[in-house]
């Protein structure tokens, strides 16, 4: 029997709800976000001896969540895309459905998953561009570029919804 230690439980209680919320923004699907958040914590558990010493386990969790969400997006999008391309149809990729989620998740749903992660980390978690780049292990300029494009898209969507 594997025992989940108190410190791990504390970490779970502290970070799990916010991680689910973050995942919901990335996936547009609350149930999927819970699945992924649980998976992230399962991985945290297997690496707990090491990660527990980190100053911010939450950063590690967000990184795992981002990657899990992108993997999930790719696997589902690529299925559709393959079908579309091989059927010689338009290669538009349908976005995940948005059942009963908060407005932010609905707003960012039109973005590619990496942009969703970047804008959510930037606006929702108030993270600086450099921190996002470090967290996601990508170039700072990539973050800036993605943030700029995402902002344009969001603004367009925002205006389209009459929120001006």
């Amino acid at each position: 029997m594997v025992v989940v230690g108190p410190s791990f439980e504390e970490c779970f209680r502290e970070h799990y709800p916010r991680l689910v919320a973050f995942g919901t923004s990335l996936t547009g699907d609350r149930d999927a976000a819970r699945d992924l958040a649980q998976e992230a914590f399962a991985r945290l558990h297997t690496n707990w001896a090491k990660i527990a010493t980190y100053d911010e386990p939450a950063a590690w969790l967000r990184r795992v969540m981002s990657n899990l969400a992108i993997d999930r997006y790719r696997s589902r999008a690529s299925e559709r895309r393959a079908v579309d391309r091989l059927r010689n149809r338009a290669s538009a990729v349908a976005n995940d459905r948005l059942p009963d989620t908060e407005p932010w998740a609905e707003l960012v749903a039109a973005l590619p998953p990496r942009q969703r992660a970047i804008v959510t980390l930037h606006y929702g978690e108030d993270m600086a561009v450099a921190d996002i780049a470090e967290l996601l292990d990508i170039n700072v300029n990539t973050v800036k570029s993605a943030l700029s494009k995402a902002r344009d898209t969001l603004r367009s969507t925002w205006e389209g919804h009459g929120h001006a």
């Binding site: 399962a42 290669s91 929702g124």
Partner: protein, 955 residues
């Protein structure tokens, strides 16, 4: 009409609104989470007690019919994602890869474990990839490959020191190990947990010292698994792409068609899912565990299920079940429908780790210097200009490797691609966005599929580049690579080549060097196309829409070699192969035709199978222009497989010994003279000394000694005359008293010289037809077989009965009119003579007995004659197979088979440049046993020795 378009929102305002919306939404979303419930779920999952099922979200059913394509494109998505980030694009469809160790170049070579799967208590040998500084005292460090425990354990002297909690650290003894690449064999402790471990022998645990070892307990072996209530699996250890058979322990409910449920037994059941139609469908960790294609199982059965492990199947210890599973907790209750199977990582191929320059950069220039980008990819050319990248895999990824090959191999997925010979290239991309790099998947002549990216190239340019690359690679492949022929001469698969120097260059050889099967490919030089072109122009070449081929003798077959030219018109690749010696033109042409057939159909030529004839037999084949005797004799077992080649002593023993009962040896002194009236002295030797034969002045042109010591000779009698003068004659005589100087030889057959039979006369040498040559004597010494040379190139055979001198023996026959015997008659036993003869269309009496013309035509008839009864006891023939055209003779061998009937081998139907066919005849059965390169087959190897063969001992 009023403009209702809102004014643009200032950036600062927009940022503030977005921040407000994001933070409030996230807070609201987080507040909705039932943390305690989900914590309980996670704890249960980590404890392995229940199926993780936190959510019940409905997901669209996967599109089964193109799941494979989806997977392939998914992979490409990953490729593009990485490249896209690298090029700084907007990433509108793709994203950087999951955080993982970034390769910095070709993967370091790792140590090798043998075996790679070890039952606890067993031993394993770890061989470092190169010299490493070993731990002292043969200490080996162990770490779970999946990092499920962060700590490193020690294996010391078969004992296990490991604390997964990390509370106690392993301690090393104060000693220094050797620096060596020697392998280390260690015993896996019986208490070492199951799972996949990274075992390292070096102090610094560098990859060259580390090998992956899967440790399994006895419970996962097939036999114990079956006894403990599990089903069984054969084999119990597999790699993705391989096959296995699962047999339930008892009848269980099954799906139609078969569905395999897979649950990982190690690593906290982190992988589980279904294998449906050969495809792996993994389930997400916390979703419903399994969703089966059919509502209900359709049958109950204990029959075995054979499956192929999908390429993307994860590694680890799995329960593979033919019955449905409701949860992933199968490991706690052995299930008769499940078998435990270890899925190992497929071996890493250098195809995916070694950089191989593309034929050109995107602008057609040479690749130049290799560099690595920040992702560890190989890169040639200038970034933003003519750059070509190659994706190098730092870790094995069977999922990727298997899927991409479908582009070329799976007809349901196959994408349009350019091909030439074995070279393939296809382009792909994840987006229509021209800024997204194009991918070129290239299959090289080595069979490797490599992935190149063209960051700055359009679809059209990528397609053109792919075509150019294929042309360049095919050209290189054709001119510089050893290219295996479709088969060896006998149709067998060529196997691995052996390289040898050849004509100042190099040749690859398939098949044994001394075998008629061998095929050589001189590579690195461009063949002269005129030979094949001339044959094509003359309409003599083998031609199809795509291939041309012909066989051109190099020397004088069968002693010389033959070149087979094959041209692939799709790539204009001209290849030349050398076959022989030992083959005739038609055999090489037949081989060329078989190769072309194989190339066109894509199927290997028929193998070298030969029908069994129930007893061993021998074959004679030319061996080229080396040392005498210029042939060799091969022994074949009854099932047609080659047994061995007779050695020089064995071949020498096959020649007639000329031995008399007193041990002395009789022969003629010299080679058979062509000129008539030129006899040779008969020589007798005893214990190395020359002793008299008869009166000491006897002569002969040919000679044979019967087992009873009777000596038969043919000779010309020319009293003071030249051949053709009155009184000159040719005779067959026998000596029964070789030791008696006064004994007079008995004349069996006499032929007066015929001036009309003289073929050549220069005043000194006269060559004339009609000579008799002694072939052999019957086992009882009563009958002697003679060859009559009635034509410069043609012979026939006669039997002379020493008890009925004066002429040739007339044997009963099934023919209405007797034709010539075209092979030396054989005795199947003391009284049964077997002959090969032609039937004639007119009475023998109508043809003068000494007429120098052949008598009879049509197929060769094999007849067994009981000499005691004077009856034909068996006759057989092969329709349309007559004697060899050039010699009008055939090869004949006969024996009495185990069932008492007569069995024969007939070699016939050939010509001066056409090989014969060989048949085994037995009762009504006729089996062709022709072998390319073999001129004749026989039951008795002595029957393969001909009068013109040079004795190895000089006699």
């Amino acid at each position: 009409m009023p403009d209702n378009t809102p004014d643009p929102i200032p950036d600062a305002t927009a940022d503030a609104r977005l921040r407000q919306l994001a933070q409030s939404s996230l807070a609201a979303e987080a507040a909705m989470v039932d943390t305690e419930a989900d914590l309980a779920t996670l704890q249960a999952r980590l404890a392995g007690e229940v199926t993780p099922s936190a959510t019940t979200s409905s997901r669209p059913a996967p599109v089964r019919w193109l799941a494979a394509a989806a997977a392939a494109v998914l992979v490409i998505g990953g490729i593009v994602a990485i490249a896209w980030t690298r090029t700084g694009g907007d990433g509108d469809r793709v994203a950087p890869p999951p955080a993982s160790p970034t390769p910095t170049g070709p993967a370091a070579t790792r140590a090798v474990a043998d075996p790679s799967v070890v039952v606890a208590g067993g031993s394993v040998t770890i061989t470092p990839a190169n010299v490493v500084e070993r731990n002292c005292a043969d200490i080996v460090t162990a770490r779970p490959i999946d990092w499920s425990a962060p700590e490193v354990g020690l294996l010391v002297g078969g004992r296990w020191h490991f604390d997964p909690s990390g509370a106690t650290k392993p301690t090393y003894p104060p000693c220094v190990g050797e620096t060596t690449a020697d392998p280390l064999t260690l015993v896996i402790p019986t208490d070492m947990p199951e799972g996949r471990w990274d075992l390292c022998v070096a102090v610094d645990r560098n990859p060259a010292s580390c090998a992956t070892v899967t440790v399994v307990s006895g419970l996962v072996t097939t036999t114990t698994a079956a006894a403990s209530g599990w089903g069984s699996a054969v084999p119990a250890v597999v790699v993705p792409g391989s096959s296995l058979t699962i047999t339930p322990a008892e009848p269980v409910d099954r799906e139609c068609p078969e569905v395999i449920t897979a649950i990982q037994l190690d690593n906290n059941a982190s992988n589980f899912g279904l294998i449906v139609n050969g495809r792996w469908q993994s389930r997400e960790p916390l979703g419903p565990p399994f969703r089966y294609p059919s509502p209900e199982p359709c049958r109950s059965s204990a029959e075995p299920a054979s499956i192929a492990v999908p390429f993307d199947f994860p590694t680890g210890l799995f329960a593979l079940c033919v019955n449905r599973q409701e949860t992933v907790a199968v490991q706690s209750t052995p299930d008769p429908g499940c078998a435990t199977v270890t899925v190992e990582q497929a071996p890493m191929e250098t195809c995916w780790t070694e950089p191989v320059p593309p034929p050109t950069l995107t602008d057609g220039s040479a690749p130049g210097e290799l560099s690595y980008n920040e992702h560890g990819w190989a890169s040639w050319g200038a970034v933003g200009s003519n750059e070509v990248q190659q994706w190098l895999h730092s870790q094995p990824n069977p999922w990727f490797d298997g899927r991409l090959s479908w582009w070329f191999d799976d007809p349901t997925i196959m994408l349009p691609h350019v091909a030439s010979g074995p070279i393939r290239a296809a382009i792909g991309a994840m987006s229509d966005n021209p800024a997204v790099p194009r991918i070129v998947l290239v299959r090289g002549a080595d069979g490797c599929d490599r992935t190149y990216l063209l960051p700055e190239t359009s679809d059209e340019d990528a397609q053109a580049l792919a075509q150019a690359w294929v042309a360049a690679l095919a050209d290189t492949w054709c001119r510089t690579e050893p290219i295996a022929p479709p088969s060896l001469v006998d149709g067998a698969a060529p196997g691995e080549p052996v390289f040898e120097t050849w004509g100042g260059g190099q040749a690859a050889r398939w098949g044994d060097a001394d075998s008629p099967n061998a095929v050589r490919h001189p590579f690195g030089v461009e063949p002269d196309p005129q030979w094949l072109d001339a044959e094509v122009a003359a309409g003599r070449a083998i031609t199809t829409d795509r291939f041309q081929a012909t066989a051109i003798p190099v020397g004088d077959p069968p002693l010389g070699m033959i070149t087979i030219f094959v041209r692939d018109l799709s790539s204009d690749c001209l290849l030349q192969y050398l076959v022989g010696p030992g083959l005739l033109d038609d055999e090489a042409e037949a081989l060329a035709q078989a190769w072309v057939n194989a190339l066109v159909s894509g199927e290997a030529p028929a193998g070298p199978g030969h029908d069994s004839i129930g007893t061993e037999y021998f074959g004679r084949r030319p061996t080229g222009t080396g040392l005498a005797p210029f042939f060799e004799i091969t022994r074949f077992s009854g099932d047609g497989t080659e047994s061995d080649v007779l050695g020089p002593d064995e071949v020498g023993a096959l020649f007639p010994s000329g031995a008399l009962p007193d041990g002395s040896l009789v022969g003629v002194a010299g080679e058979h003279p062509q000129g008539r009236c030129e006899n040779l002295p008969i020589v007798r030797r005893a214990e190395g000394e020359v002793v008299p034969f008869g009166n000491g002045s006897e002569v002969a042109r040919t000679i044979a000694v019967a087992p009873d010591g009777t000596v038969f000779v043919t000779r010309d009698i020319c009293p003071q005359g030249r051949w053709g003068d009155p009184g000159t004659r040719h005779e067959l005589v026998l000596f029964t008293e070789p030791n008696n100087p006064a004994a007079v030889p008995q004349v069996l057959v006499t032929r007066e010289s015929d001036p009309g039979a003289i073929q050549f006369n220069d005043g000194e040498v006269i060559i004339a037809l009609g000579e008799l040559r002694v072939e052999h004597v019957s086992p009882d010494g009563r009958y002697v077989v003679v060859r009559e040379v009635f034509n410069p190139d043609q012979s026939r055979f006669h039997v002379v009965d020493r008890q009925a001198p004066g002429g040739f023996l007339t044997l009963p026959s099934s023919c209405d009119y007797l034709g010539d015997m075209v092979a030396p008659p054989r005795w199947a036993d003391a009284t049964t003579i077997v002959v090969a003869r032609l039937c004639a269309e007119q009475r023998e009496a109508d043809v003068p007995s000494d007429a120098l013309v052949g008598i009879g035509s049509g197929p060769v008839h094999i007849e067994a004659v009981d000499q005691a009864a004077g009856t034909v006891t068996w006759t057989a023939s092969v329709p349309s197979v007559g004697p060899h055209g050039h010699s009008r003779t055939a090869g004949l061998s006969a024996r009495r088979s185990d069932d008492g009937s007569v069995q024969a081998i007939l070699t016939a139907g050939g010509d001066i440049e056409r090989s014969g066919q060989t048949f085994a005849l037995h009762g009504e059965e006729v089996v062709e046993i022709t072998r390319a390169g073999y001129s004749e087959l026989a039951f008795d190897p002595a029957e393969l020795i001909h009068w013109w063969d040079a004795r190895p001992d000089g006699w």
